[in-house]
Symmetry: C2
Subunit: 330 residues, 2 copies
DNA sequence: GTGAAAGCGCTAACAA
DNA sequence: TTGTTAGCGCTTTCAC
């Protein structure tokens, strides 16, 4: 391994001078600076972040904990975040919690051990309060994304309740009355059922509790959904995530429901394939969300943040799609 | 920050003893061991990987460079790799190269600076030979995934040429003659066009070069593809990646081609939505691929690897799908 | 079974 | 403008 010392020896100067050149600080004579740069280049010097981090106490790294590694929706959010932090010269270190509080704990410890400068997470539970406090004590900014598990920590969420309201209203308007609401049984998310209820109430319609189905995260539910449809006979379905959307479509296929087409369906998290299938979707403003999240983190890192807890909530919108010839319920 | 020293002071012992306990080494009296553990717990001690890495020269971290952050296919591969390494107690640090050799260089340097123990990458070019050599010199194992840019480095690839052969043969069998091949213009991939040609030859059919279209990575090509279809009038299309598949479907919609349905199409990289749309796909054995890749890395880390260059190639399979009533070309 | 001490590669305070 | 030095938190001899 080539170290500062090696470069210094090569040039015949001191480690600190080389360090200054490498970090682009002033106060080095141009001539020396050039020779040092040359030597770095020819020796193939690469700095050692472990040493840097140890010495400076910071890592230029943002930790991000993603709750579901298999959900494209989270992956695309992650993609945007990584991009934005890249622009600000921050590395990103990702950890996956698999919607499991224990693993979440391990991952938080791992990221702390890596000396992250800030943490963005989609919390799985509120059981890691202890670690959250440790992180606060170290003055590491935290932002919760998509869910608010800890009330005293900044958060950026989507108003899923409103999303459900939009979806439900839309379907009611189309003449559907037995609308099923499928959602993942995850805590700390703004409750979709709340908006669903509101839409029913505003339309003076009676709602059946049994049309609300909560499912555990991180597995396929096609069979369960098909049984549910058979038993409860909904005339429309709102799928609370893109993955549940896929499961619902599979269930429909399983059951060979000929009249149950895409117009009976609204799926959360707009994805490219929904456009192709002409399925209406609740589109999350991921870009905006990421922007706010990054903004909060950078503000906090630069000490610009307010003493109060920031809670930001962005509003989803309904994307109505229909095939020509389709439309009102017949 | 709570350090080993703090814990040692609390217990009234030395740093080295605490270190032994924390790392689960023997040679500490049970009674002392317990007290140390207690103290770690109550003080909330978290080890510092920077210090550990600096001292030991290794990081328990595998670096992975993904070439396209927006491609679900790579994301799902990444998901599997992360899972597998987790089982083996390795962290994963991800870098994204955005299909750009310059960024790839930066990312490689970043990962090296982080002292990764091994590197898995989907190389974008062969222009980073210099860094590859540095990595080799540091005895850090490297595995190339999906592409072989450096012949002297281990690799695990998919036989895309064979995939194209399967897709083309299938379409020819269905009666199509003017089959377009759309692929991303990326170097070092087994050439799809080779299998495409072979299928034409075996069927004693004349192939038109102009039906082969190469497109740059990392943008949408719907318009370009629609122009291409208008001009060249193919009667079937093979899309070389899932993203090109989406673009092709959009192009078909743009052109309102009524008779050009899913049966005229084969898309590389099987994705859940293709099942829903009944689109035939060339399915990559991602799980197997990841397994081989992880195996190679672990072998190398444990010194079990052979002196020769490992080149593994896995074979894709064709998943034929059809709606009832569809089938042979009419 | 336990502790003292050196040093991994780097930065920052200070001295020259 | 440059060099010397101490020390970040940890592991690893080596001595006891």
């Amino acid at each position: 391994m080539v170290t500062l010392r090696d470069v210094a020896r090569e040039v015949g100067t001191s480690e600190s001078t080389v360090s200054r050149v490498v970090r682009g600080l002033g106060n080095v004579k141009p001539e020396l600076r050039e020779r040092v740069k040359q030597a770095c280049e020819s020796l193939g010097y690469i700095p050692d972040f472990s040493a840097q981090n140890l010495r400076t106490g910071k890592s230029n790294t943002i930790g991000i904990i993603v709750s579901d590694i298999n959900n494209h929706f989270y992956n695309s959010t992650l993609g945007i975040l990584v991009n934005k932090f890249r622009e600000h010269k921050y590395q990103v270190q990702v950890g996956y919690s698999y919607e499991n509080g224990e693993i979440e704990k391990e991952v938080m410890e791992m990221l702390l051990a890596n000396r992250i400068d800030a943490l963005i997470m989609t919390p799985v539970s509120n059981q890691n309060r202890r670690l959250i406090d440790t992180i606060k004590k170290r003055n590491i900014p935290i932002v919760q994304l998509y869910r608010t598990a800890y009330r005293d920590i900044d958060s950026v969420c989507v108003d899923d309740s409103h999303g459900a309201y939009l979806a439900t209203s839309h379907l009611i308007e189309r003449g559907y009355r037995r609308i099923a609401l499928l959602s993942v049984n995850v805590q700390f998310t703004p409750h979709r059922s709340e908006g669903y209820r509101r839409a029913y109430e505003e339309n003076h319609l009676q709602l059946e509790e049994e049309l609300i189905l909560k499912l555990p995260p991180d597995t396929s539910h096609a069979e369960e959904i098909s049984r549910f449809i058979t038993r409860k006979k909904p005339d429309a379905v709102i799928a609370g995530t893109n993955l549940l959307g896929v499961d619902t479509l599979k269930a429909i296929e399983l059951l060979q429901l000929k009249d149950f087409d895409e117009s009976h369906l609204v799926i959360f998290d707009d994805m490219p394939w929904m456009e192709l299938l002409k399925i209406s979707a609740v589109s999350q403003p991921v870009e905006l969300l990421a922007e706010k999240c990054v903004g909060m983190v950078l503000d906090a890192l630069e000490g610009h943040s307010s003493p109060e807890v920031n809670k930001d909530r962005v509003v989803p919108r309904l994307v109505v799609r229909e095939r020509k010839g389709s439309g009102e319920k017949t």
